[in-house]
Protein backbone atom coordinates (compact mmCIF):
# COMPACT_ATOMS: atom_id res chain seq x y z
CA UNK A 1 0.00 0.00 0.00
CA UNK A 2 1.19 3.49 -0.73
CA UNK A 3 2.47 5.72 2.03
CA UNK A 4 2.60 9.46 2.14
CA UNK A 5 6.33 9.45 1.32
CA UNK A 6 5.77 7.78 -1.99
CA UNK A 7 3.35 10.54 -2.87
CA UNK A 8 5.95 13.27 -2.98
CA UNK A 9 6.41 14.16 -6.60
CA UNK A 10 9.44 16.15 -7.56
CA UNK A 11 8.94 19.17 -9.74
CA UNK A 12 10.71 18.49 -12.96
CA UNK A 13 10.49 20.90 -15.81
CA UNK A 14 11.45 19.74 -19.27
CA UNK A 15 14.20 21.85 -20.72
CA UNK A 16 13.07 21.37 -24.28
CA UNK A 17 9.59 22.84 -24.70
CA UNK A 18 7.19 20.12 -25.83
CA UNK A 19 5.89 20.66 -29.29
CA UNK A 20 2.32 19.65 -28.61
CA UNK A 21 0.39 20.23 -25.39
CA UNK A 22 -1.64 17.65 -23.54
CA UNK A 23 -5.31 18.33 -24.22
CA UNK A 24 -7.65 17.58 -21.32
CA UNK A 25 -11.36 17.48 -22.07
CA UNK A 26 -13.49 18.45 -19.07
CA UNK A 27 -12.71 20.96 -16.32
CA UNK A 28 -14.23 19.12 -13.39
CA UNK A 29 -12.15 18.04 -10.44
CA UNK A 30 -10.50 15.18 -12.39
CA UNK A 31 -9.56 17.40 -15.32
CA UNK A 32 -8.35 20.22 -13.09
CA UNK A 33 -6.34 17.90 -10.83
CA UNK A 34 -4.77 16.21 -13.86
CA UNK A 35 -3.92 19.61 -15.32
CA UNK A 36 -2.37 20.57 -11.98
CA UNK A 37 -0.14 17.50 -11.68
CA UNK A 38 0.91 17.67 -15.33
CA UNK A 39 1.74 21.36 -15.06
CA UNK A 40 3.65 20.73 -11.87
CA UNK A 41 5.73 18.22 -13.79
CA UNK A 42 6.47 20.74 -16.47
CA UNK A 43 4.02 19.54 -19.11
CA UNK A 44 2.21 21.99 -21.32
CA UNK A 45 -1.55 21.59 -20.85
CA UNK A 46 -4.71 22.92 -22.45
CA UNK A 47 -8.02 22.17 -20.72
CA UNK A 48 -11.26 22.45 -22.66
CA UNK A 49 -14.73 22.51 -21.14
CA UNK A 50 -18.07 22.90 -22.89
CA UNK A 51 -19.27 24.99 -19.92
CA UNK A 52 -16.95 26.30 -17.24
CA UNK A 53 -14.73 25.06 -14.42
CA UNK A 54 -16.66 22.90 -11.97
CA UNK A 55 -20.00 23.53 -13.66
CA UNK A 56 -21.47 20.07 -13.12
CA UNK A 57 -20.99 17.30 -10.58
CA UNK A 58 -17.56 18.57 -9.46
CA UNK A 59 -18.93 21.91 -8.37
CA UNK A 60 -22.16 20.79 -6.77
CA UNK A 61 -21.61 17.42 -5.14
CA UNK A 62 -22.04 16.79 -1.42
CA UNK A 63 -18.33 17.29 -0.75
CA UNK A 64 -17.81 14.10 1.20
CA UNK A 65 -14.14 13.17 1.55
CA UNK A 66 -14.37 9.56 2.61
CA UNK A 67 -12.57 6.29 2.45
CA UNK A 68 -15.54 4.75 4.23
CA UNK A 69 -17.75 2.39 2.32
CA UNK A 70 -15.74 2.19 -0.89
CA UNK A 71 -15.62 -0.77 -3.22
CA UNK A 72 -12.61 -2.88 -2.29
CA UNK A 73 -11.12 -2.30 -5.73
CA UNK A 74 -11.27 1.43 -5.16
CA UNK A 75 -9.68 1.54 -1.71
CA UNK A 76 -6.00 1.74 -2.75
CA UNK A 77 -6.74 4.74 -4.99
CA UNK A 78 -8.85 6.30 -2.25
CA UNK A 79 -5.98 5.94 0.22
CA UNK A 80 -3.52 7.55 -2.18
CA UNK A 81 -5.99 10.39 -2.70
CA UNK A 82 -6.33 10.76 1.07
CA UNK A 83 -2.59 11.36 1.36
CA UNK A 84 -3.09 14.37 -0.86
CA UNK A 85 -6.15 15.55 1.09
CA UNK A 86 -4.08 15.61 4.25
CA UNK A 87 -1.72 18.10 2.62
CA UNK A 88 -4.29 19.86 0.44
CA UNK A 89 -3.70 23.30 1.98
CA UNK A 90 0.00 23.28 1.11
CA UNK A 91 -0.65 21.61 -2.23
CA UNK A 92 -3.17 24.19 -3.39
CA UNK A 93 -2.14 27.20 -1.29
CA UNK A 94 -5.52 27.49 0.46
CA UNK A 95 -6.81 27.52 4.02
CA UNK A 96 -9.25 25.06 5.56
CA UNK A 97 -9.45 23.11 2.31
CA UNK A 98 -10.23 19.84 4.05
CA UNK A 99 -12.40 19.58 7.15
CA UNK A 100 -11.00 16.51 8.79
CA UNK A 101 -13.58 14.93 11.10
CA UNK A 102 -14.82 11.38 11.10
CA UNK A 103 -17.30 9.67 8.84
CA UNK A 104 -19.76 7.18 10.22
CA UNK A 105 -22.45 5.04 8.65
CA UNK A 106 -24.88 4.38 11.44
CA UNK A 107 -26.89 1.19 11.85
CA UNK A 108 -30.56 2.04 12.29
CA UNK A 109 -31.52 -1.56 13.06
CA UNK A 110 -30.22 -5.14 13.22
CA UNK A 111 -30.11 -5.44 9.45
CA UNK A 112 -27.83 -2.41 9.36
CA UNK A 113 -25.64 -3.85 12.12
CA UNK A 114 -25.33 -7.17 10.24
CA UNK A 115 -24.34 -5.34 7.07
CA UNK A 116 -21.73 -3.48 9.09
CA UNK A 117 -20.36 -6.68 10.56
CA UNK A 118 -19.89 -8.45 7.25
CA UNK A 119 -18.41 -5.32 5.70
CA UNK A 120 -15.72 -5.05 8.35
CA UNK A 121 -14.91 -8.78 8.02
CA UNK A 122 -14.63 -8.47 4.27
CA UNK A 123 -12.23 -5.54 4.58
CA UNK A 124 -10.09 -7.24 7.19
CA UNK A 125 -9.73 -10.25 4.92
CA UNK A 126 -8.41 -7.92 2.23
CA UNK A 127 -5.99 -6.32 4.67
CA UNK A 128 -7.74 -3.01 5.26
CA UNK A 129 -8.25 -1.79 8.82
CA UNK A 130 -9.45 1.79 8.38
CA UNK A 131 -13.17 1.01 8.86
CA UNK A 132 -14.07 0.17 12.44
CA UNK A 133 -17.23 -0.78 14.28
CA UNK A 134 -18.25 1.77 16.86
CA UNK A 135 -20.38 0.77 19.83
CA UNK A 136 -23.61 2.70 20.46
CA UNK A 137 -22.47 4.24 23.79
CA UNK A 138 -19.38 5.70 22.19
CA UNK A 139 -21.32 6.83 19.13
CA UNK A 140 -23.94 8.64 21.19
CA UNK A 141 -21.19 10.25 23.26
CA UNK A 142 -19.46 11.56 20.16
CA UNK A 143 -22.68 12.67 18.42
CA UNK A 144 -24.97 14.02 21.13
CA UNK A 145 -28.18 14.57 19.14
CA UNK A 146 -28.19 11.16 17.49
CA UNK A 147 -31.51 9.32 17.74
CA UNK A 148 -31.37 7.02 20.76
CA UNK A 149 -32.41 3.90 18.88
CA UNK A 150 -29.26 3.84 16.74
CA UNK A 151 -27.28 0.74 17.58
CA UNK A 152 -23.77 1.53 16.43
CA UNK A 153 -22.04 2.13 13.14
CA UNK A 154 -18.99 1.80 10.93
CA UNK A 155 -16.55 4.64 11.34
CA UNK A 156 -13.43 5.99 9.68
CA UNK A 157 -11.35 8.47 11.66
CA UNK A 158 -9.98 11.34 9.63
CA UNK A 159 -12.53 11.32 6.83
CA UNK A 160 -14.48 14.54 6.47
CA UNK A 161 -15.66 17.03 3.90
CA UNK A 162 -14.60 19.89 1.66
CA UNK A 163 -16.39 22.50 -0.40
CA UNK A 164 -16.39 20.92 -3.86
CA UNK A 165 -16.44 24.08 -5.97
CA UNK A 166 -13.67 25.54 -3.85
CA UNK A 167 -11.35 22.56 -4.22
CA UNK A 168 -12.06 22.19 -7.94
CA UNK A 169 -11.40 25.87 -8.37
CA UNK A 170 -8.19 25.72 -6.33
CA UNK A 171 -6.84 22.96 -8.58
CA UNK A 172 -7.77 25.14 -11.55
CA UNK A 173 -6.11 28.23 -10.10
CA UNK A 174 -2.90 26.43 -9.19
CA UNK A 175 -2.79 24.74 -12.60
CA UNK A 176 -3.12 28.16 -14.22
CA UNK A 177 -0.32 29.51 -12.02
CA UNK A 178 1.87 26.66 -13.20
CA UNK A 179 1.14 27.49 -16.81
CA UNK A 180 -1.92 25.42 -17.77
CA UNK A 181 -4.31 27.04 -20.16
CA UNK A 182 -8.09 26.73 -19.76
CA UNK A 183 -10.40 27.45 -22.68
CA UNK A 184 -14.10 27.65 -21.80
CA UNK A 185 -16.76 27.38 -23.03
CA UNK A 186 -15.33 25.27 -25.84
CA UNK A 187 -17.00 22.09 -27.00
CA UNK A 188 -15.17 19.24 -28.65
CA UNK A 189 -16.71 18.06 -31.92
CA UNK A 190 -14.27 15.35 -32.93
CA UNK A 191 -10.94 13.81 -31.95
CA UNK A 192 -9.06 12.31 -34.91
CA UNK A 193 -5.70 10.63 -35.37
CA UNK A 194 -3.87 12.40 -38.19
CA UNK A 195 -0.51 11.03 -39.22
CA UNK A 196 1.41 10.98 -35.96
CA UNK A 197 -0.75 12.96 -33.56
CA UNK A 198 -4.28 13.71 -32.45
CA UNK A 199 -6.35 16.56 -33.80
CA UNK A 200 -9.06 17.90 -31.52
CA UNK A 201 -11.71 19.80 -33.43
CA UNK A 202 -13.76 22.26 -31.39
CA UNK A 203 -16.43 24.83 -32.10
CA UNK A 204 -13.68 27.47 -32.12
CA UNK A 205 -10.90 25.72 -34.04
CA UNK A 206 -8.52 22.78 -34.03
CA UNK A 207 -5.85 21.72 -31.56
CA UNK A 208 -2.98 19.29 -32.00
CA UNK A 209 -1.99 16.91 -29.23
CA UNK A 210 0.10 13.83 -28.56
CA UNK A 211 -2.02 12.97 -25.56
CA UNK A 212 -5.73 13.56 -25.04
CA UNK A 213 -7.21 13.01 -21.57
CA UNK A 214 -10.93 12.40 -21.36
CA UNK A 215 -12.28 13.74 -18.07
CA UNK A 216 -15.68 14.61 -19.45
CA UNK A 217 -17.78 13.06 -16.67
CA UNK A 218 -21.34 12.34 -17.77
CA UNK A 219 -20.29 13.32 -21.30
CA UNK A 220 -17.23 11.04 -21.22
CA UNK A 221 -18.87 8.27 -23.24
CA UNK A 222 -19.42 10.70 -26.13
CA UNK A 223 -15.74 11.68 -26.15
CA UNK A 224 -14.72 8.01 -25.86
CA UNK A 225 -16.82 7.18 -28.90
CA UNK A 226 -14.95 9.82 -30.91
CA UNK A 227 -11.73 7.83 -30.38
CA UNK A 228 -13.34 4.47 -30.99
CA UNK A 229 -13.81 3.40 -27.38
CA UNK A 230 -17.10 1.94 -26.23
CA UNK A 231 -17.40 3.03 -22.61
CA UNK A 232 -21.02 3.33 -21.64
CA UNK A 233 -22.11 5.70 -18.87
CA UNK A 234 -25.58 6.64 -17.83
CA UNK A 235 -26.21 10.22 -16.75
CA UNK A 236 -28.01 10.67 -13.47
CA UNK A 237 -28.56 13.62 -11.18
CA UNK A 238 -27.90 12.85 -7.51
CA UNK A 239 -29.88 15.32 -5.41
CA UNK A 240 -28.86 17.44 -2.45
CA UNK A 241 -30.51 19.94 -0.16
CA UNK A 242 -28.98 22.67 1.97
CA UNK A 243 -30.63 24.03 5.09
CA UNK A 244 -30.54 27.35 6.86
CA UNK A 245 -27.93 27.93 9.53
CA UNK A 246 -28.22 26.07 12.78
CA UNK A 247 -26.12 26.32 15.91
CA UNK A 248 -23.05 24.12 15.40
CA UNK A 249 -23.78 20.64 16.74
CA UNK A 250 -22.11 18.18 14.40
CA UNK A 251 -18.44 17.55 13.64
CA UNK A 252 -18.85 14.35 11.68
CA UNK A 253 -20.28 13.26 8.37
CA UNK A 254 -23.19 10.87 8.77
CA UNK A 255 -24.35 8.09 6.50
CA UNK A 256 -26.63 5.11 7.03
CA UNK A 257 -25.75 1.42 6.62
CA UNK A 258 -27.78 0.06 3.75
CA UNK A 259 -29.50 3.40 3.16
CA UNK A 260 -29.03 6.55 1.18
CA UNK A 261 -27.89 9.47 3.28
CA UNK A 262 -24.97 11.82 3.65
CA UNK A 263 -25.36 14.59 6.16
CA UNK A 264 -22.86 17.19 7.32
CA UNK A 265 -22.82 20.62 8.90
CA UNK A 266 -20.72 23.35 7.32
CA UNK A 267 -18.78 25.97 9.28
CA UNK A 268 -21.53 28.53 8.81
CA UNK A 269 -24.08 26.21 10.40
CA UNK A 270 -25.88 25.15 7.20
CA UNK A 271 -26.41 21.46 6.74
CA UNK A 272 -25.90 19.68 3.44
CA UNK A 273 -28.01 16.56 3.09
CA UNK A 274 -27.78 14.17 0.18
CA UNK A 275 -27.01 10.59 -0.36
CA UNK A 276 -27.48 9.50 -3.91
CA UNK A 277 -31.23 9.73 -4.51
CA UNK A 278 -31.41 10.53 -8.18
CA UNK A 279 -33.30 13.27 -9.92
CA UNK A 280 -33.72 13.40 -13.68
CA UNK A 281 -30.66 14.33 -15.73
CA UNK A 282 -30.78 15.83 -19.20
CA UNK A 283 -27.11 16.03 -20.18
CA UNK A 284 -27.90 17.31 -23.69
CA UNK A 285 -29.67 20.36 -22.28
CA UNK A 286 -27.42 20.73 -19.20
CA UNK A 287 -30.55 20.42 -17.11
CA UNK A 288 -31.53 18.46 -14.07
CA UNK A 289 -34.85 18.02 -12.40
CA UNK A 290 -35.49 17.26 -8.78
CA UNK A 291 -38.10 14.69 -7.87
CA UNK A 292 -40.15 15.69 -4.82
CA UNK A 293 -40.70 12.12 -3.65
CA UNK A 294 -37.00 11.32 -4.01
CA UNK A 295 -36.09 14.38 -1.95
CA UNK A 296 -38.54 13.37 0.74
CA UNK A 297 -37.01 9.89 0.98
CA UNK A 298 -33.52 10.93 2.04
CA UNK A 299 -34.81 13.79 4.15
CA UNK A 300 -36.90 11.22 6.03
CA UNK A 301 -33.74 9.17 6.54
CA UNK A 302 -32.10 12.28 7.98
CA UNK A 303 -35.03 12.45 10.38
CA UNK A 304 -34.40 8.89 11.51
CA UNK A 305 -30.87 9.92 12.46
CA UNK A 306 -31.55 13.41 13.87
CA UNK A 307 -35.20 13.89 14.78
CA UNK A 308 -34.43 17.27 16.37
CA UNK A 309 -34.03 18.75 12.90
CA UNK A 310 -37.77 18.67 12.12
CA UNK A 311 -38.29 22.45 11.85
CA UNK A 312 -35.05 23.19 10.02
CA UNK A 313 -35.74 24.84 6.68
CA UNK A 314 -34.46 23.68 3.34
CA UNK A 315 -33.36 26.75 1.45
CA UNK A 316 -32.16 25.18 -1.77
CA UNK A 317 -32.06 21.83 -3.45
CA UNK A 318 -30.05 20.87 -6.48
CA UNK A 319 -28.56 18.06 -8.49
CA UNK A 320 -25.41 17.79 -10.56
CA UNK A 321 -25.11 15.73 -13.72
CA UNK A 322 -22.88 12.71 -13.15
CA UNK A 323 -21.89 9.71 -15.28
CA UNK A 324 -22.49 6.24 -13.80
CA UNK A 325 -20.93 3.02 -15.07
CA UNK A 326 -22.61 -0.38 -14.91
CA UNK A 327 -20.47 -1.54 -11.95
CA UNK A 328 -20.23 1.92 -10.33
CA UNK A 329 -16.46 1.89 -10.71
CA UNK A 330 -14.80 4.61 -12.77
CA UNK A 331 -12.99 4.27 -16.07
CA UNK A 332 -9.32 5.06 -15.47
CA UNK A 333 -6.74 3.95 -17.99
CA UNK A 334 -5.50 3.98 -21.56
CA UNK A 335 -7.84 3.92 -24.50
CA UNK A 336 -7.57 1.44 -27.31
CA UNK A 337 -5.43 3.84 -29.34
CA UNK A 338 -2.10 5.28 -28.22
CA UNK A 339 -2.19 8.72 -26.61
CA UNK A 340 -5.76 8.46 -25.36
CA UNK A 341 -6.31 8.36 -21.61
CA UNK A 342 -9.68 8.12 -19.90
CA UNK A 343 -10.78 9.20 -16.43
CA UNK A 344 -14.54 9.46 -16.03
CA UNK A 345 -17.64 7.59 -14.91
CA UNK A 346 -17.01 8.11 -11.20
CA UNK A 347 -20.61 7.22 -10.42
CA UNK A 348 -21.08 9.95 -7.78
CA UNK A 349 -18.09 9.10 -5.63
CA UNK A 350 -15.21 10.70 -7.51
CA UNK A 351 -14.70 13.89 -5.51
CA UNK A 352 -12.49 12.38 -2.83
CA UNK A 353 -10.59 10.40 -5.48
CA UNK A 354 -9.82 13.60 -7.42
CA UNK A 355 -6.25 14.28 -6.28
CA UNK A 356 -5.35 10.60 -6.65
CA UNK A 357 -6.90 10.41 -10.10
CA UNK A 358 -5.05 13.57 -11.13
CA UNK A 359 -1.76 11.94 -10.12
CA UNK A 360 -2.57 8.65 -11.87
CA UNK A 361 -3.70 10.27 -15.12
CA UNK A 362 -0.60 12.46 -15.13
CA UNK A 363 1.47 9.30 -14.70
CA UNK A 364 -0.27 7.67 -17.65
CA UNK A 365 0.30 10.71 -19.85
CA UNK A 366 3.98 10.66 -18.96
CA UNK A 367 4.24 6.88 -19.43
CA UNK A 368 4.97 6.25 -15.76
CA UNK A 369 3.67 3.34 -13.77
CA UNK A 370 0.97 4.60 -11.35
CA UNK A 371 1.60 3.62 -7.74
CA UNK A 372 -1.82 1.92 -7.46
CA UNK A 373 -3.36 -0.91 -9.42
CA UNK A 374 -5.84 0.57 -11.86
CA UNK A 375 -6.77 -2.67 -13.61
CA UNK A 376 -10.28 -2.79 -12.00
CA UNK A 377 -11.02 0.51 -13.77
CA UNK A 378 -10.00 -0.75 -17.23
CA UNK A 379 -11.76 1.24 -19.95
CA UNK A 380 -12.28 -1.91 -21.99
CA UNK A 381 -13.95 -3.97 -19.27
CA UNK A 382 -17.45 -3.74 -20.71
CA UNK A 383 -16.63 -3.77 -24.41
CA UNK A 384 -14.74 -7.07 -23.93
CA UNK A 385 -17.85 -8.67 -22.55
CA UNK A 386 -20.03 -7.72 -25.46
Amino acid sequence: MATINDATVSVRRNTAAPTRPVVIIGAGIQGCATAFFLSQRGQSVIVLDKDHVGRHASGVNAGGVRRLGRDINEIPLSLVAMDWWHQINQLLDIEDGFHQQFYVKVALDDAGANLAGSRIQQLEKAGFKHEKWVEPEQLHRRIPHLTKSIIGGVLVEGDGWALPWRITRAFYEQAVKLGAEFRTPVSVQSVDYVGDHWQVTTNVGKLEADNVVNCAGAWGAQIAKMVGDDMPVEAHAPMLVVTDRQPLFLDAVIGVMGGTLSLKQLDNGSMVIGGGMRGVADPDQNKTQLTPVGLSKFVMTAGRVFSHLRDVSILRAWAGIEGYTADNLPFIGRGSQPGIIHGFGFSAHGFQLGPGVGEVLADLVMARQPRVDISPFAPQRFSKLS
Binding site: D244, R245, Q246, P247, L248, G269, D311, S313
Partner: protein, 108 residues
Protein backbone atom coordinates in the same frame (compact mmCIF):
# COMPACT_ATOMS: atom_id res chain seq x y z
CA UNK B 1 -29.42 65.36 13.07
CA UNK B 2 -32.40 65.48 15.42
CA UNK B 3 -33.51 62.18 16.84
CA UNK B 4 -37.04 61.41 15.67
CA UNK B 5 -39.99 61.99 17.97
CA UNK B 6 -40.82 58.98 20.10
CA UNK B 7 -44.48 58.99 19.10
CA UNK B 8 -43.91 58.31 15.42
CA UNK B 9 -45.09 54.75 15.57
CA UNK B 10 -47.57 52.84 13.48
CA UNK B 11 -51.12 53.65 14.56
CA UNK B 12 -54.59 52.52 13.59
CA UNK B 13 -56.39 54.70 11.11
CA UNK B 14 -59.68 52.88 11.55
CA UNK B 15 -61.44 51.45 14.59
CA UNK B 16 -61.13 47.71 14.50
CA UNK B 17 -63.35 45.44 16.48
CA UNK B 18 -62.65 41.91 17.54
CA UNK B 19 -61.71 39.75 20.45
CA UNK B 20 -58.74 41.21 22.35
CA UNK B 21 -55.94 38.72 22.95
CA UNK B 22 -52.62 38.89 24.74
CA UNK B 23 -49.34 37.67 23.39
CA UNK B 24 -45.81 37.81 24.69
CA UNK B 25 -42.93 39.45 22.82
CA UNK B 26 -39.62 38.81 24.53
CA UNK B 27 -40.51 39.67 28.14
CA UNK B 28 -43.41 41.99 27.41
CA UNK B 29 -47.14 41.27 27.30
CA UNK B 30 -48.84 42.98 24.37
CA UNK B 31 -52.54 43.23 23.56
CA UNK B 32 -53.81 42.72 20.03
CA UNK B 33 -56.97 41.60 18.29
CA UNK B 34 -57.42 37.90 17.57
CA UNK B 35 -56.53 37.27 13.94
CA UNK B 36 -54.22 40.26 13.57
CA UNK B 37 -51.15 39.83 11.46
CA UNK B 38 -48.13 39.16 13.72
CA UNK B 39 -45.86 41.74 12.06
CA UNK B 40 -48.60 44.35 12.19
CA UNK B 41 -49.33 43.66 15.84
CA UNK B 42 -45.65 44.08 16.71
CA UNK B 43 -45.25 47.25 14.67
CA UNK B 44 -48.32 48.72 16.31
CA UNK B 45 -46.61 48.12 19.65
CA UNK B 46 -43.59 49.98 18.25
CA UNK B 47 -41.49 46.84 17.98
CA UNK B 48 -39.61 47.35 14.73
CA UNK B 49 -36.47 45.28 15.38
CA UNK B 50 -37.26 41.64 14.59
CA UNK B 51 -34.01 39.82 14.02
CA UNK B 52 -30.27 40.02 13.45
CA UNK B 53 -28.68 39.00 10.17
CA UNK B 54 -25.23 39.17 11.77
CA UNK B 55 -23.54 41.23 14.44
CA UNK B 56 -24.58 44.89 14.43
CA UNK B 57 -26.98 44.16 11.58
CA UNK B 58 -30.56 44.43 12.85
CA UNK B 59 -33.56 43.92 10.59
CA UNK B 60 -37.30 44.44 10.64
CA UNK B 61 -40.29 43.91 8.32
CA UNK B 62 -39.62 45.16 4.81
CA UNK B 63 -41.95 43.81 2.11
CA UNK B 64 -44.94 42.58 4.17
CA UNK B 65 -45.82 40.09 1.41
CA UNK B 66 -43.69 37.10 2.24
CA UNK B 67 -40.93 37.75 -0.28
CA UNK B 68 -38.02 39.25 1.66
CA UNK B 69 -37.81 37.09 4.81
CA UNK B 70 -36.63 40.05 6.89
CA UNK B 71 -39.40 39.70 9.50
CA UNK B 72 -38.40 36.25 10.77
CA UNK B 73 -39.19 35.64 14.44
CA UNK B 74 -39.48 32.65 16.71
CA UNK B 75 -43.11 31.79 17.44
CA UNK B 76 -43.91 29.33 20.22
CA UNK B 77 -40.42 27.89 19.97
CA UNK B 78 -40.43 27.44 16.21
CA UNK B 79 -37.75 29.51 14.48
CA UNK B 80 -37.88 31.19 11.07
CA UNK B 81 -41.55 32.13 11.10
CA UNK B 82 -42.44 34.94 8.71
CA UNK B 83 -44.20 37.43 11.00
CA UNK B 84 -45.89 39.10 8.01
CA UNK B 85 -47.58 35.80 7.09
CA UNK B 86 -48.51 34.65 10.60
CA UNK B 87 -51.63 35.31 12.64
CA UNK B 88 -51.71 36.37 16.29
CA UNK B 89 -53.33 33.92 18.67
CA UNK B 90 -54.01 34.26 22.36
CA UNK B 91 -51.01 33.34 24.47
CA UNK B 92 -48.54 33.28 21.60
CA UNK B 93 -44.90 33.50 22.63
CA UNK B 94 -42.81 35.48 20.19
CA UNK B 95 -39.10 36.06 20.33
CA UNK B 96 -36.67 37.95 18.18
CA UNK B 97 -34.55 35.73 16.00
CA UNK B 98 -30.81 35.88 16.43
CA UNK B 99 -28.38 34.90 13.75
CA UNK B 100 -26.84 31.60 14.98
CA UNK B 101 -24.13 32.04 17.59
CA UNK B 102 -24.74 35.76 17.89
CA UNK B 103 -25.70 38.06 20.67
CA UNK B 104 -28.14 40.51 19.19
CA UNK B 105 -28.01 44.24 19.46
CA UNK B 106 -31.53 45.36 20.09
CA UNK B 107 -32.90 48.56 21.48
CA UNK B 108 -36.51 48.89 22.49
Amino acid sequence: MDFPRGDLMFRSVMTKTGKPVEFQFEDEIITAIDGDNVAAALLKADKIQFRTAKKHDVRGPYCMMGVCFECLVEIDGRPNQQACQAIIRDGMQIRRQQAPDLDGEYEG
